[in-house]
């Protein structure tokens, strides 16, 4: 089964917000980045990536001053197969990761029902748990 492994927040001050969640819940900063899409920090609780980002473009059509929960990400076994399923169900492809050296982040972004943005990746987000080993494989 696919797994929710990423939650992204749009923040004005990612440094202060990341510090709050690190202090409050002992989450750890596992990556900080200033890329073409956003500046900010990725926190991990050991399982999930909580990204606190100042976005550089309006990906969700709520304006550049939007702050709040932004999108989530799902770890899948196979991105191409997941993409076909999502599109067959009416999801809209938004963009692909264009940096071939960037692993541990989104690989493809889609809009699902009601325009909700989500990422799909087959490589775990940095600092997150991989997919569980299938029962059959684990028994071997």
């Amino acid at each position: 089964m696919a797994k929710l492994r990423h939650i992204a927040i749009a923040a004005k001050d990612p440094d202060a917000m990341a510090e709050f969640y690190c202090k409050a819940f002992d989450f750890k900063i596992v990556r900080s980045n200033d890329g073409p899409l956003a500046y900010g920090h990725h926190l991990s609780d050991g399982t999930i990536d909580l990204a606190i980002l100042r976005f550089k473009s309006d990906q969700i059509g709520k304006g550049m001053d939007y702050t709040g929960l932004h999108h989530f990400g799902i770890l899948v076994e196979n991105v191409d197969e997941a993409a076909k399923r999502v599109e067959a169900l009416g999801g809209t492809h938004y963009m692909d990761q264009t940096n071939p050296e960037r692993t541990g982040g989104f690989e493809v972004k889609f809009y699902g029902p009601e325009g909700v943005l989500f990422d799909v990746a087959e490589h775990p987000w940095t600092g997150t748990e991989p997919l569980p080993v299938p029962a059959k494989e684990a028994a071997e």
Binding site: F20, D45, I48, T67, L69, I74, R85, P113, V116
Partner: protein
């Protein structure tokens, strides 16, 4: 360590949205909440509870027509202890679950963190979500 175990989406049509995520990612329906705050569908990926909800009040101050990711929830060992810690860090308490005590599978306290971000904390866990890992000492016994 506390764990992210809940994500809530504000939807106009929770049933249709839930069908999409069930079919796309094999998430499993684990409940149909129908409360004073929201109606909708609870899904699980085996680790997190994904709540797809039609809210009945404007909890975020973004208007009743807000659609998108709404809040998240963190499973903690002790809600009272974490409430004190959160407030000492500047978070603002919003509401507690119900007036009749604990209602299993739902949030227990809601807070606004920096920039007004809404999140829940709970110590009993959301429907379909994994419990906290056993502490290392306890697991070794």
């Amino acid at each position: 360590m506390p764990k992210l175990r809940h994500i809530a989406i504000a939807a106009e049509d929770p049933e249709a949205m839930a069908e999409f995520y069930k079919k796309a990612f094999d998430f499993v329906e684990v409940g149909r909440p129908n409360g004073v705050l929201a109606d909708g569908v609870f899904l699980s990926d085996g680790t997190l509870n994904m709540a797809i909800l039609k809210f009945k009040t404007d909890q975020l101050g973004k208007g009743m027509d807000y659609r998108g990711i709404h809040h998240f929830g963190v499973l903690v060992e002790d809600v009272e202890e974490f409430s004190k810690k959160l407030e000492s860090l500047g978070a603002r308490h919003y509401i507690d679950q119900g007036h009749g005590g604990h209602q299993a599978g739902y949030f227990e306290k809601k807070f606004y963190g920096p920039e007004g971000i809404l999140f829940d904390i709970a110590e009993h866990g959301w429907a379909g979500a994994e419990p906290l890992p056993a502490p290392v000492k306890e697991a070794a016994e």
